[in-house]
Symmetry: C2
Subunit: 201 residues, 2 copies
Amino acid sequence: MKPAPAFKRAEPDARRASLIAACARVLAREGAAGTSVRAIALEAGVSPGLIGHYFGSVDALIAASYAHVEAQVQAAIDAAVAAAGPDPRARLEAYVTASLLPPIADSALLATWIAFWSLVPANPAIARQHDEQYAGFRQRLEQLLAQCGTSTAALRPAAIAITALVDGLWLELCLSPQTFAEGEAAEIARRALAALISTDR
Amino acid sequence: MKPAPAFKRAEPDARRASLIAACARVLAREGAAGTSVRAIALEAGVSPGLIGHYFGSVDALIAASYAHVEAQVQAAIDAAVAAAGPDPRARLEAYVTASLLPPIADSALLATWIAFWSLVPANPAIARQHDEQYAGFRQRLEQLLAQCGTSTAALRPAAIAITALVDGLWLELCLSPQTFAEGEAAEIARRALAALISTDR
DNA sequence: TTCCTTGTTGGACGAACGTATAACAAGTGC
DNA sequence: GCACTTGTTATACGTTCGTCCAACAAGGAA
């Protein structure tokens, strides 16, 4: 009888993806301070050396995880907007509230995000990645606002204010979920959105 | 001739304060990952052992730094409100815009704050400290709103929305200051505040 | 001056870190 | 069934981490 294989080979892309996922889980559970090569390897069920083999350094793996989380968030928001149908106002509302409902409103996701932020002072590449993400978020919001009749001059301040509102609500919602009733944050965002855009036509 | 003293003794409280200040500077400059006992001691110009002597562990020093930064922020906001005079609306506006102007709107302060947040997953004491700070922030805001004529039923959602708006703006302003013109964030906050409270009377 | 208290130093210690690398073995092609 | 490629493991290395502690010395008391 043959002995059971000591390990399984994986498709390079699949292995990379599993390492990224493991990195995100460790970041969420332990914070940036506890996210070491060994911890990630243990979480992924592989040996520590494999991280160096695929990503070169642990910083590169973390940057890749950041990009992956960003893509997930963007995809979830896009899906919510698409599900809202053709009405511009409904699409705008979906865009705003998507961040305040599962799966984006999630403590683990916030922990991951904070871990990334904490790397910004020492890692300009992460900072740039974040800037681009936010610029894109605001730009899409401006498009939705324009379709809802917001005047051109009011587009930029309105997008900034709404983005800030969503970010702040998302932050507080994830930091202390017990503060909010089920769906309360999304409801607050809906009302605030109505108030904000009513003055910008 | 006597040799120059090898070191100077300090009043315990003064020494503690200088260590806290050094800790905050290192957190802002290096991020949480680079904030070690040795780095803090070097920044403060003392030997590493002294941190253990005064705070027991580096976690305790970081928690003390968190409390100190919180107190500074609260003091700056209170000063802004006091300087705004007796008019309730002016006081509310001062409360909101204070966070978006110096000295609170500061990249180093954000870096410090993020470093604290990144410790939350592994450090429940920091998390509790943060919750209390935010609850206090919202409670004062509710008082100011009530004096401006906001109805009792609308107090809580309005305070939450405005707090979120300020947090989000502060975050973006500190993360990428080049995105905003001088005073633009405060101006956006002023207009958004007007829109938000106009519907809650 | 001399003594005493205690703030302060500086190094020792084991643990954990990131990275590099040689040896191993899984799976594919022949 | 055999050889070859290369994904994977396990270990070693030097560094840095947090904590501890014995010795030192600054500054006030007697």
